[in-house]
C-alpha cells in the first residue's frame, strides 16, 4: 500500500503541486494588487473564457489553420533536412560545399525572416509553412549530419563486408543507425516549428491562433489572450508527445 501510495504521489500529486502553486500565485497577484480584468483576469475567469472559446467554430478554425501550417512546414522541413544531413554525413565534398551556407543561415533565426515572408507571401498560409520549414530544416540538417558522422564505424565495416555499395549503406545502415538521434532532434524541431507558426501569425496572418490572440489583445479581451496562450502551450506539448510516441513505435528505439 505504501508503495502504491508513493506511485500515485509521484505520478499525479507532485505534478499537480506545481500547477496549484502557479495558480495560487496568479490568484494572489490579482487579489493583492486588485488588478482589473483588462490587465490580468483571475484563473477562474480565464477557465470559463476558455470553455466558451472551445464551444465556438471560429476557435477550431484557428486551431486548424495553425496546425495545418505547422504540419505542412514541419513535414517539408524534416524531409529536406534529413536528406541534406544524410548527404552531408555521407559525402565529404557535399559537406565541404554546404557547411558555410548552413552555418551562416542557421543563425538567422526564423523570426528575422517574418518581414520578408509577409512581403513575399502576404498573410497567406504559404509564408507560415515556409517559415516553419525553414526553422525545422536547419535543426534537422545539422543533427542528421552529426548523427550520421557518429554512427559506429563497425556497422559501416559490416555493411561493406556484406557487399553494400555507398547508397545502400547510407539508406540501410547509416540512416537507421542514426534514427534515435534524428528522432530526438525531430522533437526539438517540433517545438521550434510550433513557436515559429505562432510568432508569424502574431505579425501577419489571415487566420490562426496567433491572429486570434492579437485580435483579442487589440479589443482588450485579456481573458481570451491568456486562454489562447494556454491552448498554444497545450498543443505544443501534445505535438511533442505525439512525435515521441511515433519515434518509440520504431523498432530502432529499442
Amino acid at each position: 500500500m505504501m508503495a502504491l501510495g508513493h506511485a500515485v504521489g509521484r505520478r499525479v500529486l507532485l505534478p499537480l503541486v506545481g500547477v496549484v502553486i502557479v495558480l495560487a500565485i496568479w490568484q494572489a497577484t490579482v487579489a493583492i494588487y486588485r488588478l482589473p480584468l483588462i490587465v490580468l483576469p483571475p484563473p477562474w475567469t480565464v477557465a470559463t473564457t476558455l470553455a466558451d472559446l472551445v464551444g465556438t467554430r471560429a476557435f477550431w478554425r484557428d486551431v486548424g489553420v495553425s496546425l495545418y501550417e505547422f504540419v505542412a512546414g514541419y513535414a517539408i522541413g524534416t524531409t529536406l533536412g534529413v536528406a541534406t544531413g544524410l548527404a552531408m554525413g555521407e559525402s565529404r565534398r557535399f559537406r565541404q560545399a554546404l557547411t558555410p551556407v548552413i552555418e551562416s543561415l542557421r543563425f538567422i533565426v526564423p523570426f528575422a525572416w517574418i518581414p520578408l515572408t509577409i512581403l513575399w507571401f502576404g498573410t497567406s498560409y504559404a509564408g507560415k509553412i515556409m517559415l516553419v520549414a525553414y526553422a525545422v530544416y536547419f535543426v534537422m540538417t545539422v543533427s542528421t549530419a552529426r548523427a550520421i558522422a557518429h554512427v559506429d564505424p563497425t556497422l559501416t565495416r559490416v555493411g561493406t563486408m556484406l557487399g553494400m555499395r555507398p547508397l545502400r549503406l547510407a539508406l540501410r545502415v547509416h540512416l537507421p543507425a542514426a534514427m534515435p538521434t534524428i528522432a530526438s532532434a525531430a522533437r526539438a524541431a517540433a517545438a521550434i516549428g510550433w513557436i515559429a507558426v505562432v510568432a508569424a501569425e502574431y505579425i501577419g496572418a489571415s487566420a490562426g491562433l496567433g491572429l486570434m490572440i492579437t485580435n483579442a489583445a487589440s479589443s482588450l479581451a485579456t481573458g481570451v489572450v491568456i486562454a489562447g496562450m494556454i491552448v498554444i502551450g497545450l498543443i505544443g506539448a501534445g505535438v511533442s508527445a505525439a512525435i515521441l510516441a511515433i519515434a518509440r513505435a520504431q523498432p530502432s528505439a529499442r
Binding site: 559506429d152 563497425t154 556497422l155 565495416r157 559490416v158 561493406t160 563486408m161 556484406l162 557487399g163 553494400m164 555499395r165 545502400r168 540501410r172 545502415v173 537507421p176 543507425a177 534514427m179 520504431q250 523498432p251 530502432s252 529499442r254
Partner: protein
C-alpha cells in the same frame, strides 16, 4: 551437425582446388599463381593526434585457396588490422594484399565473409534479419535469405532467438550471430577475428567442431585470428605467429592432421612448439 543436408548445391570448386596441405612452398611470400590470399610486404600505421603508431612491419605470407591460416600473436599486435586489409576495409600504407592474384581494393565485394571482434549487429533488426540482409544484398530473394539465415542460426544454436533483437542477446550469443552472418554468405574468403572469444569453453569446443565441418563443405580460404593456441592447432592448416607491435611474421608453422588429436603426443609437441614461438616456454624448463 546436419550441415551435409543443408548445402544442396555443392560448389564444383572442390575439384579445381589442391588439397590443403601445409607445404612450405605455399607459404612463401610472393605471388601465388594458384589463387588464395597473399600478403606482400605489408606495413601499416595509424595516425592519432599527430602521433604515428606502427602496427604492421613488412608482413608477408600467403594462404593457398581452401586453406585455413590461423594468426596468433600478442594482444594489440595488429592482427585485426591484418584482417581489415585483407577485407578491403582499409588500404595498406605500404605493400599489397592480393586475392586470387588481384590486388584487393577498398569497397564491397561478393567473395568475402567476415566476423568481427565486436559483432556489429544492426540493433534495429531481428537476429534473423541481421543474418539475412547480407544475402539479400548479394541478390538472394527474401525467402531464400530467410531460409538460409534460419539454417545457420540453427547451426550456431540460436534458432529460438531468431526473432529477438540484438540488445536481448548475451555477448557470446551476439558473437555467434556474427559468425552465422559471415558463414551464411558462403564466402570464398572467410575472415574471422577471434570469433569464439566471448563464448564459454564448452560452446567454444562445440562451435569449433561445427565450424570445421562447415569448412569441409565449401572449402573457403580462411584467415582466422585467435588468442587460443589449441584452437589454432585444431582449426589451422598453418599457424602464422606474429611478434609484438609493430607486428612482423615470426614463423609460419604447418599443422599436420595427426597433430590435431588432442590426446596425442604429436599435439603436445605442436602446442609446445607454437607456444615457444610466442615466447612461452614449457614449465619444466624453468625448474
Amino acid at each position: 551437425m546436419t550441415t551435409a543436408t543443408r548445402h544442396a548445391t555443392p560448389t564444383n570448386r572442390h575439384a579445381a582446388m589442391p588439397t590443403p596441405t601445409a607445404t612450405d612452398a605455399a607459404m612463401t611470400a610472393g605471388r601465388d599463381a594458384r589463387g588464395g590470399l597473399t600478403v606482400e610486404r605489408v606495413s601499416h600505421h595509424y595516425l592519432a593526434n599527430g602521433r604515428r603508431t606502427d602496427v604492421l612491419d613488412d608482413v608477408s605470407f600467403s594462404v593457398g585457396a581452401g586453406q585455413v591460416a590461423c594468426v596468433v600473436g600478442p594482444s594489440g599486435c595488429g592482427k585485426s588490422t591484418l584482417l581489415g586489409l585483407a577485407a578491403g576495409l582499409m588500404r595498406p600504407a605500404a605493400g599489397r594484399v592480393t586475392w586470387n592474384g588481384e590486388t584487393v581494393r577498398m569497397g564491397p565485394t561478393d567473395h568475402l565473409g567476415m566476423a568481427f571482434q565486436q559483432p556489429g549487429l544492426f540493433p534495429w533488426m531481428t537476429v534473423r534479419e541481421n543474418v539475412a540482409i547480407g544475402l539479400t544484398t548479394r541478390g538472394k530473394s527474401r525467402r531464400d535469405a530467410r531460409r538460409i539465415a534460419d539454417e545457420f542460426l540453427d547451426t550456431v544454436g540460436l534458432h529460438e532467438f531468431k526473432d529477438a533483437y540484438p540488445s536481448q542477446l548475451s555477448g557470446g550469443m551476439a558473437q555467434r550471430v556474427g559468425i552465422a552472418r559471415a558463414l551464411a554468405l558462403k564466402p570464398r574468403l572467410l575472415l574471422l577475428d577471434e570469433p569464439f572469444a566471448a563464448v564459454d569453453a564448452f560452446t567454444r569446443l562445440k562451435l569449433q567442431q561445427e565450424f570445421k565441418a562447415l569448412l569441409k563443405l565449401d572449402r573457403p580460404t580462411v584467415l582466422f585470428v585467435t588468442h587460443d593456441v589449441p584452437e589454432a592447432i585444431a582449426l589451422g592448416d598453418v599457424i602464422v605467429v606474429m611478434s609484438q607491435r609493430p607486428a612482423a611474421v615470426k614463423t609460419i608453422i604447418p599443422v599436420r592432421r595427426e597433430e590435431r588429436d588432442r590426446a596425442s603426443l604429436a599435439y603436445a609437441h605442436k602446442l609446445a612448439e607454437t607456444l615457444a614461438c610466442l615466447g612461452v616456454t614449457s614449465d619444466m624448463e624453468g625448474e
